[in-house]
Protein backbone atom coordinates (compact mmCIF):
# COMPACT_ATOMS: atom_id res chain seq x y z
CA UNK A 1 0.00 0.00 0.00
CA UNK A 2 1.52 3.30 -1.13
CA UNK A 3 -0.02 5.83 1.22
CA UNK A 4 -0.94 9.23 -0.19
CA UNK A 5 -2.98 10.61 2.69
CA UNK A 6 -3.21 10.18 6.46
CA UNK A 7 -6.22 11.38 8.41
CA UNK A 8 -7.06 11.65 12.09
CA UNK A 9 -10.64 10.42 12.49
CA UNK A 10 -13.14 11.21 15.23
CA UNK A 11 -16.10 8.89 15.51
CA UNK A 12 -19.04 9.63 17.83
CA UNK A 13 -19.41 6.76 20.29
CA UNK A 14 -21.44 8.01 23.23
CA UNK A 15 -22.80 10.87 25.29
CA UNK A 16 -22.33 12.39 28.70
CA UNK A 17 -25.56 14.30 29.16
CA UNK A 18 -25.82 16.21 25.89
CA UNK A 19 -22.11 16.16 25.14
CA UNK A 20 -21.00 13.64 22.55
CA UNK A 21 -17.65 11.97 23.04
CA UNK A 22 -15.52 10.70 20.22
CA UNK A 23 -13.12 7.86 19.60
CA UNK A 24 -9.98 8.83 17.70
CA UNK A 25 -8.14 6.63 15.24
CA UNK A 26 -5.96 7.02 12.15
CA UNK A 27 -6.76 6.16 8.56
CA UNK A 28 -4.41 6.04 5.57
CA UNK A 29 -5.48 5.99 1.94
CA UNK A 30 -3.57 4.95 -1.15
CA UNK A 31 -3.96 6.42 -4.62
CA UNK A 32 -6.72 3.97 -5.50
CA UNK A 33 -8.74 5.00 -2.44
CA UNK A 34 -8.09 1.81 -0.48
CA UNK A 35 -8.00 2.67 3.19
CA UNK A 36 -6.33 1.18 6.26
CA UNK A 37 -6.80 2.01 9.91
CA UNK A 38 -4.53 2.15 12.91
CA UNK A 39 -6.36 2.20 16.21
CA UNK A 40 -5.76 1.86 19.92
CA UNK A 41 -7.92 0.23 22.54
CA UNK A 42 -7.92 -1.68 25.78
CA UNK A 43 -6.40 -5.16 25.81
CA UNK A 44 -9.44 -6.65 27.52
CA UNK A 45 -12.59 -5.89 29.44
CA UNK A 46 -13.32 -6.55 33.10
CA UNK A 47 -14.67 -9.92 34.14
CA UNK A 48 -18.16 -8.53 34.66
CA UNK A 49 -18.29 -7.46 31.00
CA UNK A 50 -17.61 -11.03 29.87
CA UNK A 51 -19.83 -12.91 32.28
CA UNK A 52 -22.73 -14.68 30.61
CA UNK A 53 -21.34 -14.31 27.11
CA UNK A 54 -20.67 -17.03 24.61
CA UNK A 55 -17.31 -17.40 22.91
CA UNK A 56 -16.25 -19.52 19.98
CA UNK A 57 -15.61 -22.49 22.26
CA UNK A 58 -18.47 -22.05 24.72
CA UNK A 59 -18.63 -19.96 27.88
CA UNK A 60 -16.37 -16.96 27.33
CA UNK A 61 -15.49 -16.90 31.02
CA UNK A 62 -13.67 -20.20 30.67
CA UNK A 63 -11.20 -18.57 28.29
CA UNK A 64 -10.93 -15.38 30.31
CA UNK A 65 -7.52 -14.51 31.62
CA UNK A 66 -7.28 -11.37 33.75
CA UNK A 67 -4.51 -8.98 32.82
CA UNK A 68 -1.93 -8.14 35.48
CA UNK A 69 -2.13 -4.54 34.22
CA UNK A 70 -5.67 -4.11 35.48
CA UNK A 71 -9.27 -4.67 34.37
CA UNK A 72 -8.67 -3.21 30.91
CA UNK A 73 -5.16 -4.57 30.44
CA UNK A 74 -2.62 -2.52 28.55
CA UNK A 75 -3.05 -0.19 25.58
CA UNK A 76 -2.99 -2.25 22.41
CA UNK A 77 -2.89 -1.24 18.76
CA UNK A 78 -4.42 -2.95 15.78
CA UNK A 79 -4.60 -2.21 12.08
CA UNK A 80 -6.32 -3.51 9.00
CA UNK A 81 -8.51 -2.64 6.07
CA UNK A 82 -10.85 0.26 6.74
CA UNK A 83 -14.01 -0.84 5.00
CA UNK A 84 -17.66 -1.61 5.81
CA UNK A 85 -17.88 -4.19 8.55
CA UNK A 86 -14.34 -3.50 9.77
CA UNK A 87 -13.42 -2.28 13.20
CA UNK A 88 -14.03 1.45 13.74
CA UNK A 89 -15.56 1.88 10.27
CA UNK A 90 -17.76 4.97 10.42
CA UNK A 91 -18.73 6.60 7.13
CA UNK A 92 -19.70 9.82 8.92
CA UNK A 93 -16.64 10.15 11.15
CA UNK A 94 -15.10 13.61 11.20
CA UNK A 95 -11.58 13.85 9.88
CA UNK A 96 -8.54 16.09 9.82
CA UNK A 97 -5.93 15.45 7.15
CA UNK A 98 -2.50 15.17 8.73
CA UNK A 99 -0.33 14.59 5.67
CA UNK A 100 -0.58 14.12 1.92
CA UNK A 101 1.69 12.80 -0.82
CA UNK A 102 5.17 11.60 0.06
CA UNK A 103 4.90 13.03 3.56
CA UNK A 104 1.88 10.80 4.18
CA UNK A 105 3.76 7.63 3.28
CA UNK A 106 6.60 8.59 5.61
CA UNK A 107 4.22 9.54 8.40
CA UNK A 108 2.27 6.27 8.10
CA UNK A 109 5.48 4.31 8.33
CA UNK A 110 6.58 6.27 11.41
CA UNK A 111 3.17 5.80 13.00
CA UNK A 112 3.41 2.02 12.60
CA UNK A 113 6.78 1.99 14.33
CA UNK A 114 5.58 4.37 17.06
CA UNK A 115 2.56 2.12 17.69
CA UNK A 116 4.78 -0.93 18.05
CA UNK A 117 7.05 0.93 20.45
CA UNK A 118 4.16 2.30 22.51
CA UNK A 119 2.57 -1.12 22.77
CA UNK A 120 5.84 -2.57 24.01
CA UNK A 121 5.76 -0.09 26.87
CA UNK A 122 2.83 -2.03 28.33
CA UNK A 123 0.99 1.06 29.55
CA UNK A 124 -2.07 0.21 31.62
CA UNK A 125 -5.28 1.32 29.95
CA UNK A 126 -7.06 4.06 31.89
CA UNK A 127 -10.55 4.93 30.66
CA UNK A 128 -10.34 8.55 31.79
CA UNK A 129 -6.61 9.17 31.33
CA UNK A 130 -4.27 7.22 29.15
CA UNK A 131 -6.95 5.72 26.97
CA UNK A 132 -7.32 5.06 23.24
CA UNK A 133 -7.59 8.75 22.44
CA UNK A 134 -4.48 9.50 24.43
CA UNK A 135 -2.67 6.69 22.61
CA UNK A 136 -3.63 7.95 19.14
CA UNK A 137 -2.54 11.48 19.98
CA UNK A 138 0.61 10.22 21.67
CA UNK A 139 1.56 8.44 18.45
CA UNK A 140 1.22 11.71 16.60
CA UNK A 141 3.22 13.59 19.22
CA UNK A 142 6.00 11.00 18.98
CA UNK A 143 6.02 11.45 15.22
CA UNK A 144 6.32 15.21 15.59
CA UNK A 145 2.77 15.97 14.46
CA UNK A 146 0.91 18.72 16.27
CA UNK A 147 -2.60 17.60 15.41
CA UNK A 148 -5.78 19.47 16.20
CA UNK A 149 -9.01 17.57 16.63
CA UNK A 150 -11.75 17.99 14.05
CA UNK A 151 -13.82 21.06 14.99
CA UNK A 152 -16.33 20.69 17.83
CA UNK A 153 -15.32 17.12 18.58
CA UNK A 154 -14.70 16.15 22.21
CA UNK A 155 -12.27 13.30 22.64
CA UNK A 156 -11.51 12.66 26.32
CA UNK A 157 -7.89 11.76 26.94
CA UNK A 158 -6.63 13.38 23.75
CA UNK A 159 -4.97 16.22 25.63
CA UNK A 160 -3.34 14.12 28.34
CA UNK A 161 0.43 14.40 28.42
CA UNK A 162 2.77 11.46 28.54
CA UNK A 163 3.68 10.31 32.04
CA UNK A 164 6.72 12.05 33.49
CA UNK A 165 9.03 9.35 34.89
CA UNK A 166 10.36 11.67 37.62
CA UNK A 167 6.88 12.61 38.79
CA UNK A 168 5.78 9.00 38.61
CA UNK A 169 8.54 8.07 41.05
CA UNK A 170 7.73 11.01 43.29
CA UNK A 171 4.11 10.01 43.53
CA UNK A 172 5.02 6.67 45.01
CA UNK A 173 6.92 8.23 47.94
CA UNK A 174 5.29 8.58 51.29
CA UNK A 175 4.01 11.95 52.36
CA UNK A 176 6.73 13.91 54.10
CA UNK A 177 9.53 11.89 52.54
CA UNK A 178 12.23 14.04 50.98
CA UNK A 179 12.23 13.94 47.24
CA UNK A 180 15.52 14.37 45.45
CA UNK A 181 15.18 15.30 41.81
Amino acid sequence: MSVVRVDLMASAVGKVGVVVWHHLFLVAADASGTQSYLRAGPECLPLESIAGRQGQFGDALEEYEPSPAGPYGVITFSSGAYEPGAVDFDPVAANVTLASGDAAAKLWDRLQHAAAALQEEQIAYDRIGRNANWASMELLRRCGVQAALPPKRWAPGAGELAPDPVMQDAATRRLGQAVQI
Binding site: V13, G14, K15, W21, H22, H23, R39, G41, P42, E43, C44, L45, S49, I50, G52, R53, Q54, G55, Q56, A60, Y72, S78, E83, P84, G85, A86, V87, D88, F89, D90, P91, V92, Y125, R127, I128, N131, A132, N133, A155, P156, G157
Partner: protein
Protein backbone atom coordinates in the same frame (compact mmCIF):
# COMPACT_ATOMS: atom_id res chain seq x y z
CA UNK B 1 -38.34 -5.99 16.60
CA UNK B 2 -39.61 -9.20 15.03
CA UNK B 3 -39.43 -12.56 16.76
CA UNK B 4 -36.29 -13.48 14.83
CA UNK B 5 -34.61 -10.23 15.77
CA UNK B 6 -35.36 -10.89 19.40
CA UNK B 7 -33.40 -14.13 19.10
CA UNK B 8 -30.16 -12.29 18.45
CA UNK B 9 -28.41 -10.00 20.91
CA UNK B 10 -24.80 -8.88 20.60
CA UNK B 11 -24.60 -8.83 24.39
CA UNK B 12 -24.73 -12.64 24.37
CA UNK B 13 -21.37 -12.94 22.61
CA UNK B 14 -17.73 -12.30 23.32
CA UNK B 15 -16.19 -12.72 19.88
CA UNK B 16 -17.00 -12.09 16.24
CA UNK B 17 -16.99 -15.73 15.15
CA UNK B 18 -19.66 -16.82 17.62
CA UNK B 19 -21.77 -13.72 16.99
CA UNK B 20 -21.55 -14.16 13.23
CA UNK B 21 -22.58 -17.81 13.45
CA UNK B 22 -25.61 -16.85 15.54
CA UNK B 23 -26.47 -13.93 13.27
CA UNK B 24 -26.29 -16.13 10.17
CA UNK B 25 -28.50 -18.73 11.86
CA UNK B 26 -31.22 -16.11 12.31
CA UNK B 27 -30.59 -14.25 9.02
CA UNK B 28 -29.12 -16.83 6.61
CA UNK B 29 -27.46 -16.08 3.30
CA UNK B 30 -30.23 -15.79 0.71
CA UNK B 31 -32.83 -14.47 3.15
CA UNK B 32 -34.19 -10.92 2.77
CA UNK B 33 -31.80 -8.22 3.97
CA UNK B 34 -34.48 -5.85 5.25
CA UNK B 35 -35.47 -7.81 8.40
CA UNK B 36 -31.81 -8.08 9.34
CA UNK B 37 -31.30 -4.36 8.91
CA UNK B 38 -34.50 -3.56 10.77
CA UNK B 39 -33.45 -5.77 13.68
CA UNK B 40 -30.06 -4.08 13.87
CA UNK B 41 -31.68 -0.66 13.89
CA UNK B 42 -34.27 -1.75 16.45
CA UNK B 43 -31.58 -2.92 18.85
CA UNK B 44 -29.86 0.47 18.61
CA UNK B 45 -27.44 -0.09 15.76
CA UNK B 46 -26.59 2.68 13.33
CA UNK B 47 -26.89 1.47 9.76
CA UNK B 48 -25.89 3.27 6.61
CA UNK B 49 -26.00 2.49 2.97
CA UNK B 50 -22.39 2.47 1.76
CA UNK B 51 -22.97 1.17 -1.75
CA UNK B 52 -25.76 0.24 -4.16
CA UNK B 53 -26.46 -2.95 -2.21
CA UNK B 54 -24.10 -2.68 0.71
CA UNK B 55 -24.91 -1.71 4.27
CA UNK B 56 -22.67 -0.96 7.18
CA UNK B 57 -24.02 -1.13 10.73
CA UNK B 58 -22.39 -0.34 14.02
CA UNK B 59 -23.64 -1.31 17.45
CA UNK B 60 -21.85 0.19 20.42
CA UNK B 61 -22.22 -1.32 23.86
CA UNK B 62 -19.94 1.23 25.46
CA UNK B 63 -22.10 4.34 25.52
CA UNK B 64 -22.35 4.43 29.30
CA UNK B 65 -19.36 2.38 30.33
CA UNK B 66 -16.61 4.31 28.45
CA UNK B 67 -15.17 1.00 27.31
CA UNK B 68 -16.91 -2.04 25.93
CA UNK B 69 -17.64 -4.05 22.84
CA UNK B 70 -18.31 -2.32 19.54
CA UNK B 71 -19.78 -4.50 16.83
CA UNK B 72 -19.57 -3.85 13.09
CA UNK B 73 -21.74 -5.62 10.55
CA UNK B 74 -21.47 -5.39 6.76
CA UNK B 75 -24.35 -6.75 4.74
CA UNK B 76 -24.18 -7.24 0.99
CA UNK B 77 -27.38 -7.97 -0.86
CA UNK B 78 -28.23 -8.90 -4.44
CA UNK B 79 -30.73 -7.37 -6.88
CA UNK B 80 -33.53 -9.28 -5.14
CA UNK B 81 -32.51 -7.72 -1.80
CA UNK B 82 -31.39 -11.06 -0.46
CA UNK B 83 -28.34 -11.30 1.79
CA UNK B 84 -25.27 -12.36 -0.15
CA UNK B 85 -22.56 -11.81 2.43
CA UNK B 86 -22.34 -11.02 6.12
CA UNK B 87 -19.16 -9.61 7.59
CA UNK B 88 -18.98 -9.12 11.32
CA UNK B 89 -16.19 -7.69 13.42
CA UNK B 90 -15.87 -6.68 17.03
CA UNK B 91 -13.44 -4.41 18.81
CA UNK B 92 -13.03 -3.40 22.38
CA UNK B 93 -13.82 0.24 22.13
CA UNK B 94 -12.55 2.67 24.66
CA UNK B 95 -12.42 6.38 24.32
Amino acid sequence: MDAKGAQFRFEAFADAASAQAAFEAVYPIGSPVEPALQALVDMGGRCRNVGPSRFSCRYIETEKALAGFCWHVALDSDKDKAIQRIGLAVAILGI
